[in-house]
């Protein structure tokens, strides 16, 4: 077997016909062409050689003829011209024409560069003596002589011919022959390939057709008609195909017949019985017997495998002569599917049963599995959708609930059907869905947030995860959609809380600073300007303290709302904390545009606020700075705005200021001052100067106004108008005020004890000290501590306190009044106080502002006003103090019109305690006409 196999392998063809034919043909062609070429080249070479030799001889002869005349005439130039022309003949090495003695008259030669040149002064030639010497070989040259004769010998022509040219020519002939040979071969091979292509291709097609004859089903293939043999072969194959097809049909027919025969009951593997008209079993096949045996039954039990209503069925089928199929019977653990076929004329009912027990069990198992799957599917808390080519082919109960749609409405739809056109972030829903789906199909599990719309058009957040799986060779995607609305809401709430002020719902400091940073970047990118405004509500603390935090909060809310009205969409109003707000104005042509906004804001904020049934008025101080003018840095812009805001405050509040570089310096100074001021009390840097108040009529010192002074070692003497405002701003006044009170009371006590002078000390109280009950308690405590009679304390307050008309003010004044303390209204005439307040509040003294006193002698209007004030005060039983009296005339005026007290440089400037004591001593002594004693 093995040997046979090896033998058959040995004879198996290994080369293609095309290759074999080509090789043989090429070999033959090569041989033929080589032989022919060789012969031709050889023949040509011999011919050329003979020609060249012949030509050499003819050349010499021609020269002898042509040059004869020139030789005779000794026309050397013409001889030379002739030789130069003749010398170009291939192979000529040199030519000479000489006279009969051999003297050269003309001589040319071929140089190594193949150029023909004349030469001179060559030695005379040795002319041949015999004709045999006319043609001789000299080495590789042929020398040919010819006599020049004109009746007699007149000279000689000598031509030297280089035989190497013959070699060159021969080589050229061989080269050309070989080239021609290759050309011939290439052409021949190409022609062969072209000629053989069709037949060989036809053979390949025939082979392919023959190999697939069993599947051609009688079809014919195209027949190559380029040769008789190929045409015959093609036709033979087509006939074979037809015959095979016919034979195959016959075989199939026979097979079918066989199958039909096999289907006869005798051979039927399933139970087959026949019942007669009475219902008795007339035939049962071996399969029936086998089944009975397998189930341990006897023949009579065969009816147990039939339907219970077999009699009725039999009668029905026989009477109607109609088969009945699909009757299922369960018996002995089997499920049989019966077919009843009547034979009417024989009154026999053939019964065929197919045992479908396994099938039923498999169906049952599948159903149970499906039910389990469906249970899991539908009981999931998340919506689950099966996606095929992006569309839903199944979904669970939760999907219906989440989307608010019946299952049928969800099937065959993509997820984008239940989503808005764009997702948060602006991405197109369709595009996002397609991208995610592609990724999942490629094997990358996807998880992403997805905004859905349910049937009620309500949008909700969901988290979608996509995973792919293979089903029947196809890739499906399992989509799980989870409602994350609550989580999102909580996240947003947290985010909101983190970024927004809980009271005003405005962006808080953190968000404001972030927006500021973004605004600067955007301005830089767009090459635009932006402005930053720092807003501090003036005297907010007063409201907060007086009306309570609830009212204060409401106020802040309303302030925030009013500020928002003043800005555009895209700008930011933020609350930094307390009563401070930050405004970011984006996309400005110029920072100066913020001025308009500031004006509007001041106007809005100045409108009355209705709080606790009261109309309240507020103002604000606004600091404005801008990018890029003032800085590119958000931090520095904040600082600038703050500095500008403080400048606005210092300028009187209810205004705005643009940042200037100097403000930084001022802010810096202010900070420095603030820091030092906070420590001024503990460092004993504060002191009181006293300016005497003189009873005009009696010319006696009745008291002194205490004026606060601050001397700091580094800053030096700080003017009161600088640090008192600062102290009020930073809330230091109550502390300083208490110190002033204490010191003043202490000093007053000293005066009383030292000089036995019951001088009343007047202490200025700032409006901030009037918050709540603190002032009253402080005064009471100080008075008790120092045991100073209460009538020796005068509290001076300004008109601005009355303008606010807070309930605390009246209560405090009343309380102080009840303590017996003298109340003075300072700087009267400079504010906007209503005269009714004079009636309302229990003042004792009215102090006319120095600005009126200064001009009583020069401005009749001011003089008239002073008169009126004095008269009014008198009518109200108030004492009048003229402040800033500097001249006798001013004093006389006051005296004339009834003012009781004068205070000013006319009598004394404000003096430190020791100097004031000296003043007192001198004044009293002079008044008494005594000598001024030395104070101990």
């Amino acid at each position: 077997m093995k040997e046979n196999k090896n033998k058959s392998d040995k004879w198996k063809p290994t080369r293609r016909l095309r290759t074999q034919v080509t090789m043989v043909f090429v070999a033959l062609t090569v041989a033929t062409v080589c032989v022919v070429t060789f012969n031709a080249a050889n023949h040509e070479s011999q011919r050329i050689t003979a020609n060249i030799l012949q030509s050499a001889q003819e050349l010499a002869g021609n020269l002898a003829t042509t040059g004869a005349d020139y030789l005779l005439e000794r026309d050397y130039a013409s001889i030379e011209k002739l030789l130069l022309r003749t010398g170009r003949f291939p192979g000529v090495a040199e030519i000479q024409i000489a006279d009969e003695t051999g003297k050269i008259l003309g001589d040319i030669y071929r140089g190594v560069d193949n150029e023909i040149s004349a030469r001179y002064r060559q030695p005379a030639l040795v002319v041949p003596s015999q004709p045999e010497q006319w043609q001789v070989m000299q080495g590789e040259s042929l020398v040919v002589w010819r006599p020049v004769e004109l009746g007699h010998l007149i000279g000689w022509v000598r031509v030297v011919y280089d035989l190497k040219v013959i070699d060159e020519v021969n080589k050229q002939i061989w080269r050309d022959s070989i080239l021609l040979m290759f050309l011939l071969l290439a052409t021949t091979v190409a022609l062969l390939i072209i000629m053989l292509r069709r037949p060989l291709r036809a053979i390949e097609q025939y082979t392919e057709f023959a190999n697939s004859l069993d599947s051609t089903q009688g079809k014919e293939m195209p027949v190559e008609s380029s040769s008789i043999e190929l045409s015959n072969l093609g036709n033979a194959l087509n006939h074979a195909s037809k015959r095979l097809s016919t034979q195959t049909e016959a075989i199939v027919k026979a097979m079918n017949e066989l199958e039909r025969v096999a289907a006869l009951p005798e051979y039927n593997p399933n139970m087959s019985i026949s019942l007669d008209a009475r219902g008795l079993v007339t035939y049962s096949n071996p399969s029936a017997d086998r089944m009975l045996k397998e189930d341990g039954n006897q023949a009579q039990h065969i009816f147990s495998y039939l339907p219970d209503n077999i009699d009725a069925l039999r009668k029905e089928c026989l009477s109607a002569n109609k088969s009945k199929t699909g009757v299922e019977v369960n018996a002995f653990g089997r499920t049989l599917l019966w077919t009843f076929a009547p034979v009417e004329d024989q009154q026999v009912l053939h019964c065929y049963a197919t045992d479908i027990t396994k099938r039923r069990k498999a169906e049952q198992a599948r159903k149970e599995s499906e039910d389990q799957y469906r249970l899991l599917f539908d009981s999931a808390n998340d919506a689950i959708l099966l996606l095929r080519k992006g569309k839903c082919i199944d979904c669970n109960r939760m999907a219906s609930i989440l989307l608010g749609l019946p299952r049928d409405y969800i099937l065959n739809q993509p997820l984008t059907k239940f989503a808005p056109p764009h997702q948060p972030g602006g991405k197109n829903s369709e595009r996002l869905y397609a991208e995610r789906l592609d990724e999942a199909l490629a094997g990358e599990p996807q998880s992403f947030e997805w905004q859905c719309i349910n049937a009620k058009r309500k949008q909700f957040y969901s988290e979608v995860s996509l995973n792919h799986f293979e089903v029947g060779g196809e890739t499906w995607v399992l989509a799980i959609v989870r409602d994350i609305t609550e989580r999102k809401t909580a996240e947003e709430k947290l985010l909101h809380q983190a970024n927004y002020d809980s009271l005003t719902e405005l962006p808080n400091r953190m968000l404001a600073l972030d927006r500021l940073s973004q605004a600067v970047k955007q301005a830089h990118r767009l090459k635009r300007n932006m402005a930053l405004m720092f807003i501090d509500v003036d005297q907010f603390k007063k409201v907060n303290d007086s009306l309570g935090h609830t009212a204060g909060d409401q106020l802040l809310i309303e302030v925030g709302q009013r500020l928002q009205v003043c800005v555009r969409e895209g700008d930011t109003v933020a609350r930094l904390g307390g009563d401070e707000f930050l405004i970011i104005l984006n996309n400005l042509n110029d920072v100066i545009e913020a001025e308009v906004v500031a004006e509007r804001m001041l106007s809005e904020l100045a409108r009355p606020y209705l709080l606790q049934s009261q109309e309240l008025y507020l103002s604000a101080s606004i600091g404005i700075t801008g990018y890029p003018y003032d800085s590119h840095s958000p931090t520095i812009l904040l600082r600038n705005a703050d500095a500008a805001m403080y400048q606005a405050k210092e300028s009187g509040r209810n205004t705005y200021r643009f940042y200037t570089p100097e403000m930084n310096q001022r802010a810096k100074v202010r900070l420095e001052m603030e820091s030092r001021l906070r420590k001024a009390i503990e460092r004993n840097e504060l002191s009181l100067n006293y300016q005497a108040q003189i009873d005009i009529s009696q010319e006696r010192v009745i008291g002194a106004e205490a004026l606060l002074r601050w001397h700091n070692p580094e800053l030096g003497f700080v003017p009161p108008d600088q640090f008192i405002h600062l102290a009020e701003d930073i809330g230091l006044m109550p502390q300083i005020g208490e110190w002033v009170l204490r010191q003043a009371c202490q000093d007053a006590l000293v005066w009383r004890q030292k000089f036995q002078l019951p001088l009343r000390v007047a202490v200025n109280v700032s409006p901030t000290q009037f918050r709540g009950n603190a002032l009253v308690e402080t005064v009471r405590a100080v008075m008790e501590e120092y045991h100073l009679p209460t009538d020796l304390l005068e509290i001076e307050l300004t008109e601005s306190l009355l303008v606010e008309d807070a309930p605390d003010t009246a209560a405090t004044l009343q309380a102080l009044k009840q303590m017996g303390i003298c109340l003075a209204l300072d700087d009267f005439g400079t504010g906007y106080s209503s005269l009714s307040y004079l009636k309302k509040y229990p003042f004792d003294v009215l102090k006319i502002d120095r600005s009126f006193i200064n001009s009583v002698m020069t401005h009749p209007d001011d003089a008239a006003l002073c008169q009126a004030i004095i008269a009014m005060a008198a009518s109200l039983n108030l004492s009048v103090v003229g402040e800033g009296v500097e001249t006798e005339d001013q004093l006389s005026f006051l005296r004339r019109y009834g003012a009781q007290i004068a205070q000013g440089y006319y009598y004394s400037k404000p003096l430190p305690m020791t100097e004031f004591e000296t003043f007192l001593l001198v004044w009293n002594t002079k008044r008494q006409g005594k000598r001024v004693p030395t104070l101990s």
């Binding site: 000794r74 026309d75 050397y76 130039a77 030379e80 003297k103 050269i104 008259l105 001179y120 002064r121």
Partner: protein, 293 residues
């Protein structure tokens, strides 16, 4: 067909009449210069070459003169030098292209110089007596009894130079006229002649081929353009300018100059005094007689 034949027959006599009229008109112009057409200028020349060759050499020049002067310039070639001299002397030609010797003869009859030729940048030349470089002849005196090769028989100057060098012709052993300098130099190299006379440029060229210069003549004036005595001053000046304007840098002028002689570069001003040296040289040959051919 019959119509065409008929029209051709009618046309032919008409054409013939026109041609005859044109011929008559030109002759009338030639015969009657006072009739109002510009008078033609006749240009003669020494026969340095065949008439066909001379015509070819001189025609571009005559066309140039004609177009610039706005008057016809007609070539009137002479078969020989004496004839050329005679024509310009007698005023039968207004212009002539002459050898130095020819000019001298013509000048005796009033011919005036217009310009001289320039060759290789030089407006003068020398004639040189040459020998083979290994010749025993070292001086002119050694030429006595030797075989000498001259060029053109008509070139009196060659003989005049040899005589002027101190070697009377009769003292030479033999002399022959070989025609061209090419033959002279080859004749010497071949050894057929002991010496020969060459133009300076040729002598220098052949020095490296085995020639030695034995003697060189003084600077001699070259060929020239002369005018007959009948040419007035204005026309003379005009003609002079025209010749002097011919420049190699102008492509049209280049063609004119090189047609005349491929070795020429152009023309330069000249004066009769430049030809004194020739006068001296040919004096022995003239002795009051007409120059021999």
């Amino acid at each position: 067909m019959a119509n065409k034949t008929h029209s051709r027959a009618k046309t032919f006599p008409g054409c013939l009449l026109v041609v005859l009229w044109l011929l008559g008109a030109s002759s009338v112009v030639q015969a009657n210069p006072e009739s109002g057409t510009p008078k033609a200028i006749r240009f003669g020349s020494v026969a340095m070459d065949t008439p066909a060759a001379m015509d070819k050499r001189l025609t571009p020049l005559t066309e140039y003169l004609s177009s610039t002067l706005k008057r016809p310039v007609i070539l009137k070639l002479s078969p020989s030098m004496p004839d050329a001299i005679r024509q310009v002397s007698a005023g039968q030609v207004e212009l002539a292209y002459l050898t130095p010797v020819a000019y001298l003869s013509a000048h005796q009859s009033g011919a005036q110089l217009i310009a001289k030729t320039v060759t290789a940048g030089k407006s003068s030349f020398r004639l040189m007596i040459v020998v083979a470089d290994d010749s025993p002849i070292k001086t002119v005196a050694d030429l006595e009894g030797k075989k000498f090769a001259f060029g053109d028989k008509a070139a009196l100057l060659q003989r005049a130079v040899v005589v002027g060098a101190g070697m009377p012709l009769e003292k030479l052993g033999q002399y022959k006229f070989l025609g061209h300098y090419d033959n002279i130099v080859r004749g010497v190299l071949v050894g057929d002649y002991d010496a020969g006379i060459l133009k300076d440029t040729m002598a220098y060229k052949w020095k490296s081929e085995g020639i030695r210069i034995l003697y060189q003549s003084p600077e001699l004036p070259p060929y020239n353009i002369s005018a007959s005595k009948n040419v007035d001053k204005a026309l003379l000046m005009q003609l002079q300018k025209l010749f002097l304007d011919l420049k190699l840098s102008n492509p049209e002028h280049l063609a004119i100059i090189k047609a005349l002689d491929n070795n020429y570069d152009g023309f330069a001003p000249t004066a009769d005094a430049e030809y004194d040296v020739v006068r001296e040289l040919v004096k022995p040959f003239q002795q009051g007689k007409a120059p021999k051919e």
